[in-house]
Symmetry: C2
Subunit: 228 residues, 2 copies
């Protein structure tokens, strides 16, 4: 933890746990940032805390931010059901402007900590089609960050690192296994129960299951019920 | 309030009150959004509520977001004094990534409300030199917004309106007076007391005072003490 500081967005899911391990391997002192945003799967935050501790983050903050109050997403609005299959196009689990809000907060923390590197576990291969997971979004945010901040203007540019963006879910899992990530403590499911057990059927569960199968690695996920 | 919806960032200061009046004049149903972010001048929020009500906003939300916990600014960290004169360069009253965070939240709300227009009262003439008040920042955020969101991707682009950006403070005040804005209920001061009375000496007070003087309009600001 003696390296340069970095801010790592940590949801408690499989992807962000892998990113935290990658950034740590690269020598950064990783300051993990999670959000309590009214998500229905708040087992995520329990997982995030465990992951930050296990991987050895330099710090872990949980920031409360009430974007859930806006509604408009199955992940934050109990009136909208999470479907088994998100289908074509952008699914109802999309949370308006979520990654923009999360990266903006990470940017503020990074500037305060004098960190130049931000890490986010977005992925544009085995993913739900969210617009704020694509390379063009990441590039646009980096450009914005360097116009928006004192550090950017004064010649200390920020870099938005999205090391998983072009990986398949299987490649992400293989990377994490190589780095010793314990995926049994991560929670990806959109409908996880109070103990973090996964439904096995939502988009997030399906991509995750398929990833373990494609990587030929036994799936350590704790599922609700018996034989999923 | 029967027009198209718009989201207007409302701090409770002179600039954002003027923007709310302008957007209302243009026929938008204005949804005002304020932030409780740990700012030391929380008299702002009292002023924002009054302004939203007086100008006739369609709704007014106050969103709690703990960017103040990051520190790094005289506006959110009691350990850093607010100076009388911010001096050259970016002053200590700069809050890391503040307008990026605020616009990101406004974007999420706008997408949920199906609003395409966002309004922000930034100004790059009589201002404190903050990087996130410049035209290049606004343009970069608009580009980001249309990559980040379902609405942007599906061909319903957002516009970030910054109608004050090239005005002098005097021109802003003249515009507001024409629209009937009651500036006596706005609070701009970085060190306002519990009743919203201004110090008369900080950057925000100086720009505001000079604006009324240049516009030849009696300054309705309530100042702490007697003869400021």
């Amino acid at each position: 933890m003696s390296g340069a500081p970095a801010v790592v967005l940590l949801s408690g899911g499989l992807d962000s746990a892998t990113v935290l391990a990658l950034a740590t391997e690269q020598g950064y002192a990783c300051h993990a940032l999670s959000f309590d945003y009214g998500q229905r799967h708040d087992a995520e935050l329990v997982a995030a805390k465990r992951v930050a501790s296990t991987v050895g983050a330099a710090s872990h903050r949980v920031m409360r931010i009430d974007i859930g109050a806006f509604g408009g997403s199955a992940l934050t609005d109990a009136a909208i059901a999470v479907p088994d299959d998100g289908g074509d196009g952008i699914p109802v689990t999309y949370v308006p402007a979520r990654n923009t809000v999360f990266l903006s907060c990470a940017l503020g923390l990074a500037e305060t900590l004098k960190a130049r590197e931000l890490f986010i576990g977005v992925n544009a291969v085995d993913y739900s089609g969210y617009p704020d997971c694509r390379p063009a979004f990441i590039a646009a945010f980096e450009a914005l960050a360097n116009l928006a901040t004192r550090a950017g203007v004064e010649g200390h540019p920020f870099h938005i690192n999205a090391p998983l963006i072009a990986m398949t879910k299987a490649q992400i899992i293989e990377t994490g296994m190589r780095l010793g990530v314990d995926y049994s403590i991560t929670t990806s499911c959109y409908r996880a129960d109070g103990e973090g057990r996964a439904c096995g059927h939502c988009d997030a569960c399906r991509f995750r299951k398929q990833g373990f199968a494609a990587a030929g690695i036994a799936d350590p996920t704790r599922y609700v019920g018996a034989n999923l």
